[in-house]
Symmetry: C2
Subunit: 139 residues, 2 copies
Amino acid sequence: MKETWMAKLKEKGMRITAQREAIVDILLNSEKALDPLEVYDLTRQSHPSLGVVTVYRTMECLEHLGLLQKVHQACGCNKFLKLKEGHHHLLICTNCGKAVYFEGLNFENAFSEIAENNNFLLQDHWLQLSGLCPRCQKI
Amino acid sequence: MKETWMAKLKEKGMRITAQREAIVDILLNSEKALDPLEVYDLTRQSHPSLGVVTVYRTMECLEHLGLLQKVHQACGCNKFLKLKEGHHHLLICTNCGKAVYFEGLNFENAFSEIAENNNFLLQDHWLQLSGLCPRCQKI
DNA sequence: TACTTATTGAAATTGATTTTCATTATCAAT
DNA sequence: ATTGATAATGAAAATCAATTTCAATAAGTA
Ligand SMILES: [Mn+2]
Ligand SMILES: [Mn+2]
Ligand SMILES: [Zn+2]
Ligand SMILES: [Zn+2]
């Protein structure tokens, strides 16, 4: 997976740096969405000289490259999660933040109908479920 | 409607002030979600001496009283909209911000099923549609 | 190895929100 | 109506995230 990400960076003419690799490592290994400051703290554990600005810039790039997705939660709206191919929605743990993509719901038609009834031209939809993940239910 | 809101403030032991009335007026007459600074600017047109802090504080109160709801949009996550009774979802214009509550979708069962399949204990869901309102389609 | 240029990070800047606190205004009790 | 307790206000300072600037550094190509 990391190879794919770094390849995509290279493909866009961007350089491979130790900082970028470290940031990508953190994001790829996280099962929850992280904001830039969280990534900064986590990455600095192995790269103490890293600057915050680099984290902001790198995460913005990764989003533009379609590798990261912005996720809004009660605990913050600047969180980013690795994006999965295709159209999916998220199920997020309110306790630990664990995020799971799920498929199987196809509401697109129902959404169109609602929009039509209100004379809106539907452009997008935002659907997210939240609850307790298996582990957090036991605690 | 305004009477209801002011009554609720009083009921909670809060005082009726000119500032609060002005802020409530703006929020009740807006058909789109507004953030504190927008409310500040709008309210100052009639109350130039109003302070920003008062707007922040008042809007926070109104949210706690269940009169306002926080609404997340691409253009910002600090926007508040007057809350409608009952369980509804929103349809929001991406151009002018016009917000419409709609009913008629009942996906609760489908959501529960998805959660179960992933061994999550469902607590909440978030659904929002976006598109162009009738007026913005013509422009 | 040398060179071009993207990248980096410290520091300054911006902008939103919160905190502090002295002053003012509301409202209930006289 | 007057008074008094105290809730509310707003200017100013403080905080915090995020962005901009810029000189130094490092990546990748020739
Ligand atoms: Mn969908
Ligand atoms: Mn619902
Ligand atoms: Zn969890
Ligand atoms: Zn519109």
